[in-house]
Amino acid sequence: MPSNAQILWMYEIMEKARYYEDTMAAVYMEGKSPKFDIGAGTVPGEMHLAAGQEPCAAGVCVHLRPDDAVTATHRPHHVAIAKGVDLNKMTAEIFGKASGLAGGRGGHMHLLDPAVNFSCSGIIAQGAGPAAGAALAAKLRGTDAIAVSYLGDGAANQGGFHEAMNLAALWQLPVVFVIEDNGWGISVPKAKSTSVADNSVRAAAYGMPGVHIADNDTLALFDAAEEAVARARRGEGPTLIEVETYRYYGHFQGDPELYRPKGEVEALKAKDPIKRLRDKAIADGSMTEAEADAALARAKAEVDAAFAYAREAAYPAPEDALTAVFA
């Protein structure tokens, strides 16, 4: 069960992530209207937003330390925020500015911050192996640091996921695999891509515990992640957690979502997980309304400041494209 401090932390992180994604959705459309040209505007290229998936980030990262490694996906912002990535530098990176995490070289799908041991990548499931590797490093060095690999439900059908699962279980690596099951692999629903309804059963195939969290339940995930992280730190090996979560936006911004059943998003929003946590915590006294309001205000201020920082920051010199290839 979380302490009051942990509940407040998770709530603030989730509000920060939500406000970040909603702000980004609006900023992304600058320069792309009435003609949607993906390469145009303030934030060009692809954009994959995680509004609705905040519990997956908060409920796990609440248990992590800066020296725990996290690998994330093409939909990384909420996890980056929960892991403590510098919000100004992250936003500047997404804006393509020189003061971004990689001086504009990586962009939204390639946010890497060694200061908090966070990296992400755009190739599906290819973060699973590196997380196992970071876990291996911790084990070799004799620390109790762990690794967390974030994956989508689509990634559970990709070879790299299965190899990493086997390796982690075989070598008893301190890694937690977290599948954010938002029910969609771009346009393909889970039932049409995955041979099992619940990926947590696949853990048994690799000899590790598997846990299923239903309906975006932050507190249930808190408990499951607490146990998985503790297991890993004790040297008892990996765990797979699958979280049923919600994708409010399209796969990428600009996705017409013609494949999505009418009313699905509205139905999900009606049971918004952040509101559920807030209401429950206030009702049972673990958080006061004043604390919650203050947390929300702080979260929004931090996000607004990050976007302002990114806007004002300078672009890199074009020749910087040629540097930082090698150390």
Binding site: D37, I38, G39, G107, M109, G160
Partner: protein, 336 residues
């Protein structure tokens, strides 16, 4: 039958596939989001509605799984068209492509055929960064056993796709995202062309001389064709006549057209959106040099993406992408 109907490349591709699927029940399509969505880059629009789920299959995100399944289906007498959504994803399934599809004909002394098309989206210029913007012509052309085609316009796209489906060999059909004519990504006007309604083939190994000129030969393909044509117009204003050759297919390569042109102009500039070193541009130049280095009146030149991951930020990406101005400048420089 004459036609005055203009199609963007994406619709030319899906029309070619539909016509072959109507004519030949062994043709089917697999890939990620190629069904209901019609392909992320529009290559399979309308196919699910016409042919149904058995022949137009949305796959899980399992490239090794479904591409190697394509190899097996092809060896069992089917003609699969498999989409690798972005060419950059080849990393997770390359074995199926270069060790199976490309080699099983050879390993069987010709007794097995692998009549599959792997169509895949290439190209950058819209800030999709290092894992979603690559072109990789050289990577696939380098490995024996694969045919590799890269159209620059809709007319060629339909003819090359039809030829690819009918070919009994594995064909990499590399289409540039920025040529597809998608509503949400800018494309050159000249990419959309009049496309005949009836099926037709363009044979592989035949480059197209898009513009004749006596002063410098520009050999190029795919998106860079359009930049080269823009450069050629600018050069013409200065009295420099560039000959622009659109390769259309990389394997097989039309070396004869290249040689004839360089014999005429004496100056060669190769332009490719792929990485510079160890690839297509070097191969074209080496091919001419081996044949007869005295053809060159000036050192041959090449323009390509430098050997760096493709950066995200717009000024960085624009810096590394060849454009019409850079092509014109390189062409002028070869004239001394």
């Amino acid at each position: 039958m004459t036609s005055n109907r203009i199609l963007p490349v994406s619709r030319a591709m899906s029309e070619a596939i539909a016509e072959e699927m109507r004519a030949d029940p062994s043709v089917f399509v697999m890939g990620e989001d190629i069904g209901t969505y019609g392909g992320i880059f529009g290559a399979t629009g309308g196919l699910l509605d016409e042919f149904g789920e058995a022949r137009v299959r949305d796959t899980p995100i399992s490239e090794t799984g479904f591409i190697s399944a394509g190899v097996g289906a092809a060896m069992s007498g089917m003609r699969p068209i498999v989409e690798l959504m972005f060419v950059d994803f080849f990393g997770v399934c390359m074995d199926a492509i270069y060790n199976l599809a490309a080699k099983n004909t050879y390993f069987s002394g010709g007794n097995y055929k692998v009549p599959m098309v792997i169509m895949t989206a290439t190209g950058g210029g819209y800030s999709d960064a290092g894992q979603h913007s690559q072109t990789l012509h050289g990577t696939f052309a380098h490995l024996p056993g694969l045919k590799v085609v890269a159209p620059s316009n809709a007319y060629d796209a339909k003819g090359l796709m039809t030829a690819a489906i009918r070919d009994d060999n594995p064909v990499m059909f590399m289409f540039h995202k920025g040529l597809q004519g998608l509503a949400w990504m800018a494309s050159p006007d000249a990419a959309a062309t009049v496309v005949p309604e009836d099926a037709y083939e363009i044979p592989f190994g035949q480059a197209s001389v898009l513009r004749e000129g006596k002063d410098v030969t520009i050999v190029t393909l795919s998106m860079m064709v359009h930049k080269a044509m823009e450069a050629a117009e600018a050069l013409a204003k200065d009295g420099v006549e560039a000959e622009v050759i659109d390769l259309r297919t990389i394997v097989p390569l039309d070396r004869e057209t290249i040689l004839n042109s360089v014999a005429k102009t004496g100056r060669l500039l190769v332009v490719d959106e792929d990485y510079r070193s160890f690839g297509l541009t070097g191969e074209i130049i080496a091919g001419v040099a081996e044949h007869d280095p005295t053809l060159f009146k000036a050192p041959p030149r090449r323009l390509a993406v430098p050997d760096v991951p493709i950066p995200y930020s717009r000024p960085l990406e624009q810096f590394i992408m060849p454009d019409a101005a850079a092509i014109a400048e390189a062409a002028r420089a070869s004239l001394g």
